[in-house]
Every structure is written in structure tokens, then in C-alpha cells.
């Protein structure tokens, strides 16, 4: 049973990576939010499994916080923003999707190489998945760069935080509780502020295209 569970961590990690790739290739905003929710749910499963295997109660708490925050609260918030602003259009990317997928593969190779020496030094149960966690961070980072609309950028930002959270779980069996709580609070407040922001941008520009936000250039 234990062997099966510890294998399942690898499964969750692989799903996270696939979801990250799906996010890069997804052009519809609503599907992006669904993917984000899926990513959060996978993260909850992975964290809970690690918590069970290593018998660390504080990881259960952080899995519960993740569930509340990233599977319920933030997706609801995003849905409301999308409804209120009525933005369901397809997202245009700055680079076409096949090219971004290829760059994504290069990033994954890079992340695996970077993570290899670290995971060898780690004593954590899920250390082999550190490379995947780092790859998720880099993929979300790329998503923020290539998307020109505000909501996909925000989802990229939140997905990057998911990747970091998974990295913490896989490399170190989770950060101390107080830090996790603080990070969760920051993410929540950040998401709220971004929601407020969306309305302000919309009010000013009548659009959520970030390319309007390019007036401040060096002269």
C-alpha cells in the first residue's frame, strides 16, 4: 500500500506537468480557470499523500488550506471576475502555440538538470519530483510572458505559486506551518488585489488587454 502511495506521488507530479502544458496551449479563459482548479486539486492530493506517508500533521493542514484557497476560493473569485467583466474571448498569444510548446520542452529539460543535484541531497520522500515542480514554475513563468491579456497573466502568476508550493513539498516535505500560513495569506490577498485591479483596468481602458499598459516607456 505504501509503495503504491509513494508511486502515486509521481503520478500526481506528472499530472501537474501535463496541466501546465495544457495551460500553455489553452486559449479560452474559462478553460484556463478550470485547468487552474485541476492543478490545485492535484496539488491537494499530492500534499495529502506526502502528509500521510511521512506522518506529518502540519502537511494535512496545508493540504486543507490549499483545498480551500486554490480549489474553492480563488477559482470562485476568478469566475466572478470573468462573469462580471464578461470576458470569455479567446486569448491571443504573442508567440504561436506550437512554438511555445517547443520552448516548454526545452524548459523542462533545463529544470530537470537544475534539480538533479539538489534532489540528490534531499532526504524527502518526494524528492524525485523536484524537477517537475521546477518545470511547472518555469512553464507558468513563460505563460505570463507570452500572454497579452490580464486574466491569463494572473492565472500564470497563480500557477507559478502552485509550482513553488509543490517544490516546497517535494524538496523539504513542506515548509514550517507559520510560513505556509503566511504564504497562503499573501496569495489570497494578492488574488483579491488583482481582482480589484481588473475592474480598475477595465474602467480605464475598456479592455483587459495588457498591451494598453505600455505607455510608460523610456524616452
Amino acid at each position: 500500500m505504501r509503495a503504491l502511495l509513494s508511486q502515486s506521488i509521481n503520478l500526481y507530479a506528472a499530472s501537474l506537468l501535463i496541466v501546465s502544458f495544457a495551460m500553455i496551449s489553452q486559449r479560452r479563459i474559462l478553460s484556463l480557470v478550470h485547468l487552474y482548479t485541476t492543478q490545485g486539486a492535484t496539488l491537494v492530493l499530492a500534499t495529502a499523500t506526502v502528509a500521510y506517508l511521512t506522518n506529518q500533521p502540519h502537511l494535512f493542514y496545508s493540504a486543507a488550506i490549499t483545498l480551500a484557497l486554490k480549489v474553492v476560493l480563488i477559482p470562485i473569485l476568478l469566475h466572478r471576475v470573468i462573469d462580471r467583466l464578461d470576458v470569455r474571448w479567446d486569448v491571443e498569444t504573442l508567440i504561436n502555440i506550437p512554438t511555445t510548446m517547443l520552448i516548454g520542452i526545452v524548459l523542462v529539460v533545463f529544470a530537470f538538470n537544475l534539480a538533479l543535484p539538489i534532489s540528490q541531497l534531499s532526504s524527502s520522500i518526494a524528492r524525485s519530483t523536484l524537477g517537475i515542480a521546477l518545470a511547472c514554475v518555469l512553464l507558468s513563468f513563460m505563460m505570463m510572458i507570452v500572454r497579452s491579456k490580464a486574466i491569463p497573466q494572473v492565472i500564470g502568476f497563480l500557477a507559478m505559486e502552485n509550482g513553488l508550493f509543490f517544490a516546497a513539498t517535494s524538496a523539504t516535505n513542506g515548509m514550517p506551518m507559520i510560513v505556509e500560513l503566511g504564504i497562503a495569506l499573501d496569495v489570497l490577498v494578492g488574488a483579491l488585489i488583482l481582482g480589484v485591479f481588473m475592474f480598475q483596468i477595465r474602467e480605464q481602458f475598456d479592455s483587459l488587454d495588457i498591451s494598453h499598459l505600455e505607455k510608460l516607456r523610456e524616452e
Binding site: I118, M144, M175, G182, D186, K215
Partner: protein, 488 residues
Amino acid sequence: MLPATFPLFLTLLLPVAGGVVLGLYGHRDKGPELNAAFSAATLAAALWLTAEVVFGTSVLGFGERFFIDPLNAFLVALTALVGFTTSIFSMPYMRIEREHGKMTGPRMRLFHSMYQLFIAMMLVALTTNNLGVLWVAMEAATLTTVLLVSVYRTPASLEAAWKYFILCGVGIAQALFGTMLLYLAADRVIGGGEGALLWTHLAAVKEQLEPNILALAFVFLMLGYGTKVGLVPVHNWLPDAHAEGPTPISAVLSGLLLNVALYAILRCKVLADGAMTNGLPGRMMIGFGILSVVVAAFFLFRQRDVKRMFAYSSIEHMGLMTFAFGLGGPIANFAGLLHMTVHSLTKSAIFFAVGHATQRAGSQVMDEIRGLLQASPTLGWGLTIGSLAILGMPPFGVFASEFLILTSAMRQLPWATPVLLLSLAVAFAAVFGRVQAMVFGDTNLAATTHRPALFPVFLHLGLTLMLGLFVPPFLGQWYRQAAALIGG
């Protein structure tokens, strides 16, 4: 006799309480006074705390969760002082903005409440012993100021705030990864749990930490917190956020937040230096520092917006400090700490003067601001003296610290000296020419309805002058202790 943690408790509690109270009453007529009162109380608590440390040694508080040593005590005092003077300056400033229709009641409430919370988060970041909490507080300090940068709701301010949020968010995410790696390294030596992120515990075992992990961790931490310090090439948010936000916010961002971020790097550098013997952290800081000084100096020439210009000047000075701490050694560290103090005092004084001038001219474009001296001698002289001080003219403190930095560079890294000198000369030519054009000539400034609070300008410049002429012995002792803590 109260325990020494009591003033620490007060220092942290007062601004949080201020944030809550002003969140309820900040839009009232007396909101600005209430803001200043809370800042004054915080300053008093911080001075009490500082006095405890000066006459004693390090203080650990709340079960090792917070700690105070000479290094952060002096930054706590500085943060509380500039926080207080900025709140004084903002009283008439924000009232005038309200009369101009740029601020409304709810925006005033947001401004005052977030101002207090911002100060609180910086104080938490400075005093916490937990590197994870340090990260959380840094991120929270960003979050509190994002809505303040966009408070005028102009297209430019929204853009600046968006950039600020996204760039700092990405930057600080890297710092989180760095913190995680640090925790991983500590986990191997002192075991898991909260103790593995406490700086005092880490510093005790820093020689045993795995050097390879620490090297990688420091790279991420340097890039992450470096974004907040405004180091080139991750500085893009800084000029926009400074130029578009309300001036009191520009003053505290430049004078305080950048310092706190640099403080975070310094704490991490101590650990990385202990684990590694190859001096990589120092070399990285030297590289980032020189690059920032050079790039910022040349960008200074191209600026037309006065707040943007002084924002670039902040990048230049943060670069100089990073360079000094990168060199290391007692003199360079001493100079870096002194430079931190005088830059923060002088730059906030300049922003006060500039803020008042732009308010009266109704524009931030330098070509549209003329004749400050004719309109108001105090304002004109304040800006002139402040600019001369920040450009490193003797007898001000900036001259003393820059002189020390350059002489240590000459000894340890001779090739860097001409590069730095040239950049400082370029910065001088750029800024002084612009300031002269604004100060002299016939004025185009309108009168204001509220008396400006310009006394903080002269208070700050007076302190800078004092530090240039004579560093009081207890202060000198204190700087030396702090410099020793960061590996002097």
C-alpha cells in the same frame, strides 16, 4: 522593570493597530493627524527598543521568533523615523490632493490604512528571526503598496501598479524558492521544523551548510530580493512606481522599502558566506552593484519627469550600497550602512521638496517647473541642498560614505574605481543641470491652500549634514558592531 520584548511588541503592534483604526476613520477630517500620531507613537516605541539594544546586546523575543541586533535595530529606528516624518509631510500634501480632486474620502482611508500597514510589514521584515516570515512580510509590504501606486486611477498609474505587482511578484517568487533551498540545506544539519528557518540557528551552523545548495539558494535570493532593491536588470518596476504613486509613497518606497530588501539580501549573504569559501555572494553583489550604478547614471540623463529622475538616482545609490556590501570588510560594510542611512534621509527629503514643487506646478515634467527659489525660498533651497547632498557634495554624509566606498574599492578592486567615479560624475551632470533649471528663473508656481510641511526636509538634511561632519561615538560604535555582524 519591563522585559526588553515589550518595546518590540509595541513597535510592531502600534502600526498594525494604526492600520485598523485608520481603515475605519482614515477618511475623516482628522485622518492625516491620526496617521501622524500613530507614526509618532511607533517612532517612540522604536527609539525605546533601540535604546535597549544600544545599552545591552541582542534581544530575542516571543520564543526566538523575533530578534534584534545592532544591524536591524538601526534600520528599525531609521524606518520609524522616516515613517514619522513622511506622515508629517503627507498631512498638507494629501489634503491639497483631495482639494484638487485627485483623492476622495475612500481613497484617503485606503491611503492612511495601507500606509500604516506598509510600515508595520517593513518592521516585521526587519525584526523577524524567521527567513520564511521575512519573505512573507516582504511580499505583504508589496501588496500594501500596490493599491497605493494606482490610487489616482490614471492609465499611467494603473500601468505602473500592474508592473510593480507582476514584476515584484515574479521576483519575490524566486526569493521563495531560494528560501526553500535554504530550508532544505538547514534540514540536513539541524533537522526540520521551524528552527531550521530561524536566522540565529542558521548562523550558528552556517559552516556546515551544504555549499552547493547554498550557492543556488543565494542566486535565487539575490535575484528575488534584488528585484525589490531595484538592481539592474530587474529594476523596471521602480521608476514607474515612484513616478506614478503619491509622493509620500515615493518617499517611503525609496527611503525604506529598498533598504529592507537589501537587508534581506545581507542576512542571506552572511549564511552563504559562511557555507561557501569562494566568495561567490560578494562577487555577485559587486557585479549587480556596478551594473546598477552605471546603467542608472546614464538613464538619469534621459529623464524628463522629476520623480522618475530621482527614482533612477535611487537605483544608482542602491547599486553603490550593494557594491560596498559585496566588497565586504569592516570599512566597506561601515560605508554601506552609513550610505543606507544618509541615502534614505536625503532621498526622502528630496521627494518631499519635489512633491510640493510638482503639486504647485501642476506637473511632474521638469521643463514645466521653474523658479522654485522665487516662489518659495525654503522650497528652492531645500531641493538645491538636497540634490547637492545626494550627488555626494561635501560636507554631507553621502560624501563621507561614497568616499569610504571608493577608497575601499581602490584597495580591493582597483578597476572598479574609475567606473564608479565616472558614473557619479555623469549622475552629477545630469541631476544638477536639471535641478538648476527648476530652481532659478521666473516662477510659474501657483499658490497652495495649505501650508506645506517642509520641516522634515530640513530635519533630514540636518541629520545628513551631521553624519557627514561628525558621527557621534555611540552611533559609530553601533555601525561598527553592525558591520561586524555582516562579516566585517
